[in-house]
Structure formats: C-alpha cells, structure tokens
C-alpha cells in the first residue's frame, strides 16, 4: 500500500498526534518549549495553584529578552516592574528546574535567535513559545508557532496542546532576488500582496528557487514575518543548507545520532504530488527594496513608490484604516517616501538581528558617518551574535560610524525596556511591526531591511540602499 503524498506540514503533524477524536481538536505533542519573561509568569502561577510540575523541563528552555535593558551595564534595572518580572522568571526557572539563559549568561539573547544558534531548533520538530514570532523556527522545516499564556501553561503541564488542524498554503517564490533586495523585502512584498490577514488559518510552506537560494538566517527572516500575514506558521523544507548550519551546534545530534537525524530529516520535504489547500505565487526578480508607509506590515510599497490613496479603496473599513494610518504617520497620498526625514534607526530584533543582518548594515556604514541628529541603535539578537560581530570588526564599524552598539535583547522592536521613540519621531526599523505606538507611544515606524535602515542612518532620510552599495 502506498500512502497518499503529504506536505512537510502533514508529515510533522501526523508524527505528533497524541490523540485525535471526532468533535475535538487534535492533541499534539510538543518537542521544544521556549519561554520568556513576559508571557510566562501567569502560566507558572497557574501550575502552582493546581499543584502541578513542569512535565518535561528537559524540553523547555527560557531566556530573558523583552524587558531587559540593552545598555552596557544591564543591572540594576531602573524600571521596578521590569525588574520584578525578570526576578520572577529567575525564580520560576529555579523552582521548576528549567534552564535559563538569563542576564550575564553568554548565551542570553532573543528567544528566536538563541533557539537556532544553540542547535535546539531542528527539522521535523514541533516548537512553541508564548510569542507570535515563533514562526521563525519554521525556517528549519519545523512546525513552530506562537501561543498564549494559557497554552504556555498547558505545555508546561502536559507537553501537549489542543489544536485544530490548519490548512496549508504553498508560497512559491520564482526567480532570484536582485542586488540590494533582501529576504526582508521578499517577505514585506508578500505581505503587501496578500494583506495582514491573508494567511489567517493557514500554515505557509515557502518553496521555489528564490527560497532555496537563501541562507538559513535569511530563511529565518522570511518565516519570522509569516505571522504578519496572519499565518499560523511558516515553513521551509530542510536541505543541505539547513544541515550545514546545524552541524556542530551545541544541542544538535552528534556522531551516529547526527547521521541518523540527517537521514530522517531528508524524508521531511513535501512529496512531489502533495496537495496544498491554497497556492500563492511571487516573483522575486520583480521585487525592489520595500518600506512600509502605514501602521501594519501589509502597508508596504517599493522604496521608489508613492503612498497610495485611500480614496482608491472600495471597502469602507479598509479605507478608514488606511486614512487613520496616514493621519498617524502624517503622510499624504501620492507622496514619495524617498527623501522623507527620519530621527532614529533601529537595527536588530528576531527578524533582522543576526550576524548576516549586522554584516549587511555594516557594509553600508563602513567608512561613513551617521547623519547628524539621527540616533542609530544596533542591537545584536544574542550575546553570541555580539561576540561574533565584534570578532570580525563589525562592532567597531558601528561605533566609528556613530551608532550605539548595544547588548542583546528585543529592545526597540517592542519598546518595553526603555529603548523607545519619542512621540512624533520617525524611525526606520528592521523589526517586524509598525503598529501605532509599537516603538513607543506616538512613535512612527518605517519597516525596512538592514541595508535600507543603514542607508537612512547615513543620509538622515529614507534612501534607496542600492545608491550606496559598491
């Protein structure tokens, strides 16, 4: 008997079903649970109230990233609430026996940066975290998605989740990215095409030559922002690029176990005749550097383009949302974004805070100086990224250019740790969300790639990075 062709998603899903009953969601086993300080305290509280233990501390890893200062001396923390929250995760990890990559740890970092770099994130796994950007880990051919705090408690207690099966969507990206156009531009281009709810109910699998040619770090950037299109998760089939990245990492299998794992992982890619519930096509060749003009990531245009006119939108509530966004951003329909003055540049986050992102930013900043009056924060995604960047001289390039070179954390992506915009300020940011107030109340965000962010740092205005590339 030959089984029906299956997608990458189907294979992982089937392999993790604990029980499937009619009229009930599937009970799915979770291989790896990542935990951070913001979405976990109420879950640990719940365990205490019920007298429960963490079922699998050996499959649970915690870090501190959201509310942690990125200034050189991280402690003492001025904000008493942040300090209390950080103290709480330290206590919770101690009490429940969970390894913590905390303040002072050489492996501290943004949860979605440290999982892959420690080799915890592996193909074929189910991975969850109380954080929507858990979709990042799908770059390895894992099924990884964000959950709320109740579900964090469920996984802590049972290592399982109740899930209704999502539908599958193939996102096929033809062609190759042009010079100066990055993985960030690819994903912003996709979200602009399908809208911020365009992926709701689906798990994306990215396929096609443009995806296959991306490095692991670029693939993580793409999968990271799947959630900004509303997708439950984003995935990329594992291949030699994946295995090469993982080989030798601390938690990756070794020796014979590695050989066996690679053999297993090679069976994961979608079967040739596997059917997806939906397919979206994108042509990488036609993409330009992208920049957002509005207050959700779908409000993005090619950097040479003009701000669209809400009057051209027929749906009333969509039109109102766009008008509201332009009021908030203080932009006019028909206006070019090129040349628009900016106040702050933020380079970092789980989207673009890895070594290759910093290399790209440094390639623009090297030998140049930040425009007077512009504040530039470069925040590595992890302490490991920081050390690697310093070892190859990137830290020095940032400092010599006049940027701030910080300790690792989420920083100005979510503005919980004191790194934030002032009301009315404009930022070019390599993060993932341009929602109203996301980077500080009243702050205005233009999302873009590390290249575009670095170009704006030099000129003080939104600039096509291709003008500054060798």
């Amino acid at each position: 008997m030959t089984s029906a062709p299956r997608t990458l998603f189907d294979k992982i899903w089937d392999d993790h079903v604990v029980v499937e009953e009619p009229d009930s969601p599937t009970m799915l086993y979770i291989d790896l649970h990542l935990v951070h300080e913001v979405t976990s305290p109420q879950a640990f509280d719940g365990l205490r109230r019920r007298g429960l233990r963490v079922r699998r501390p050996q499959q649970t890893v915690a870090t501190i990233d959201h509310s942690i200062p990125t200034t050189p001396t991280r402690i003492p923390i001025d904000d008493p609430q942040a300090a209390r929250q950080i103290q709480q995760i330290v206590e919770n990890c101690r009490e429940f026996g969970i390894p913590l990559h905390g303040i002072g740890s050489p492996t501290q970092g943004v949860v979605h940066v440290i999982g892959p770099e420690l080799g915890l994130t592996q193909p074929g796994m189910t991975i969850v975290c109380g954080d929507s950007h858990t979709s990042t880990h799908g770059a390895f051919g894992a099924l990884a998605f964000g959950i709320g705090t109740s579900e964090v408690e469920h996984v802590l207690a049972t290592q399982c989740l109740l899930q209704s099966k999502p539908r599958t969507c193939q996102v096929h990206v033809e062609g190759y990215l042009s010079k100066g156009v990055t993985a960030k531009d690819l994903i912003l281009g996709l979200i602009a095409q399908i809208g911020s709810g365009g992926g709701t109910g689906y798990v994306f699998e990215y396929t096609g030559p443009a995806i296959r040619s991306l490095s692991m770090e670029e693939r993580m950037t793409v999968c990271n922002m799947s959630i900004e299109a509303g997708a439950r998760a984003g995935m990329i089939a594992p291949d030699d690029i994946t295995f090469e990245y993982l080989a030798g990492r601390p938690y990756a299998p070794k020796g014979e176990a590695w050989e066996a794992a690679v053999k297993r992982w090679r069976s994961l890619p979608s079967d040739p005749d596997a059917r997806f519930d939906h397919t979206i096509m994108l042509d990488a060749t036609r993409l330009e550097p992208m920049v957002t003009y509005g207050t959700n990531p779908a409000m993005a245009i090619p950097i040479t383009g003009i701000v669209p006119d809400p009057a051209s939108v027929s749906d009333a509530s969509e039109r109102q949302a766009m008008e509201k966004a332009l009021r908030y951003m203080d932009l006019r329909p028909g206006q070019f974004l090129l040349g628009h003055p900016i106040d702050v540049v933020f380079i970092g986050s789980c989207t673009n805070g890895r070594l290759s992102d910093l290399r790209q930013a440094a390639s623009v900043l090297k030998g140049r100086h930040v425009k007077e009056g512009v504040r530039v924060l470069v925040v590595p995604g992890s302490q490991s990224v920081k050390r690697a960047a310093e070892a190859e001289g990137l830290g020095r390039i940032f400092l010599e250019a006049g940027a701030e070179w910080r300790e690792s954390g989420c920083s100005m992506c979510i503005a919980m740790n004191g790194d934030q915009l002032q009301p009315g300020q404009y930022a070019v940011s390599t993060s993932n969300r341009n929602f109203e107030g996301r980077q500080g109340p009243g702050g205005r965000t233009f999302l873009a790639s590390p290249l575009t962010a670095a170009a704006a740092a030099i000129t003080g205005v939104i600039t096509d990075p291709r003008m500054l590339l060798e």
Partner: protein, 205 residues
C-alpha cells in the same frame, strides 16, 4: 473560566480593520506578572491623550460603553502579538464577546480560553450591525451560545459558527487543561514510542 451561555447587551462599535493587540493593550503594560487589572489600560493610546486625559470622541469613553459587554470591530481583529493580555484586558473592562468578520488565530484561541466569545458574522450582517450602531448607539443585541445565534434588535436571528469542543468548554466553563491532564496515559504512551528529539539536560551534564 466563567461559563458563557447567553448575554443581552449594548454594543461598542470600532469600525476599523486589522486592530492589532498592540492597540488592545500596549506593550508597556505587559510588565505585569498578573492577569488582573488590565481593563484600565484597554486601548490605552486610543482612549487617553499623552497627559492622561481621556479622548472625548473615543467610543470606549462614552458613558454607555461601561455597560456594554459586546464589542463590534472590523475584520482581522487581534492580529499581531500572542499576548493573552489582550483578552484579559477586554474581559477586565467588561466585554464578554467580540463580533467581527474574522479574527487572528492566536487571539481567537486566547479569547476562547478565557470565556470571551469571538463571533464571526458574514460581511452583510457585519455592515448592517455597524449601520444600526451608528444610527442608534444604544441598540441591544443578544448572543445565545447554545443556539449559536446572534439576535438583532428587530428580532432577526443570525447563526454563527463555533466548534463543538470550544462550545462545550464555554457553555460549561470547562478549562481545557483539565481535559489535557486526563489524557496522561496517552501522553506516556506517545513518549514511550517517540524518543525525545532534544534533551537539554544531557548537554548541561
């Protein structure tokens, strides 16, 4: 979890698409380690000026909003972050249900686990509800979960979908964690036949 059976209530209308969780509860209020007390920060940046004074035009600041248990919003409500603080804040303010044409996946999951009912209606009903609420902000709607019906002011009833499991949990106030814990033998059987794909202890020793 508080059971949800049937409510009859006034409505607060926010005719905006893609309301993200950063608007529902801005990140600076996520430094709490508790679930309670978030209602005062619900839609904080839309409710209040930077000096803390209320924005008089915002629907939530109208006196009748305090008595409303139903929020009517544009499509793709709750997009963005996974913060469960969003449904906690909505419930703490007094809401028991949200009506839209679509919800972001994680928000919907989080809402259901807290007894906040996400009601999906068709675009025509959705448009009609906004028209009714605009013409008369004091309109009253009824939501009957057992019947899965939304009853409009003219008595007309509209069916809304919900899966059997979540419906039962909401009607009876059942916490799904209890259900998961009862499956312990099945979890053990799964673990016995599937070696752990990662073991963090091994590396540390």
């Amino acid at each position: 979890m508080q059971p949800f059976t049937r409510i009859t209530s006034r409505v607060v209308a926010l005719p905006i698409d893609n309301i993200d969780t950063d608007q529902i509860i801005p990140a600076r209020f996520l430094k709490t380690i508790h679930k309670e007390g978030l209602g005062q920060h619900l839609f904080a940046d839309w409710c209040y000026n930077p000096d803390g004074s209320p924005k008089p035009d915002f629907p939530l600041n109208q006196p009748e909003a305090r008595a409303a248990h139903i929020l009517l919003v544009g499509e793709n409500f709750g997009c963005g972050s996974s913060r469960e603080h969003a449904p906690w804040a909505l419930i703490d303010f007094g809401f028991r249900a949200v009506i839209s044409t679509s919800f972001a996946d994680i928000f919907r999951n989080n809402a259901l686990k807290n007894g906040l009912l996400p009601v999906v209606v068709d675009p025509d009903t959705h448009r009609r509800l906004f028209e009714l609420a605009k013409a008369d902000p004091s309109i009253v709607l009824t939501l009957d979960l057992a019947e899965q019906s939304l009853i409009l002011p003219d008595g007309k009833s509209v069916h809304f979908p919900i899966d059997a499991f979540n419906k039962k949990c909401l009607l009876e106030g059942i916490d799904p964690l209890g259900y998961l814990l009862k499956q312990e033998p099945l979890i053990q059987a799964y673990e016995a036949s599937h070696p752990a794909r990662v073991n963090i202890r091994i590396m540390e020793e």
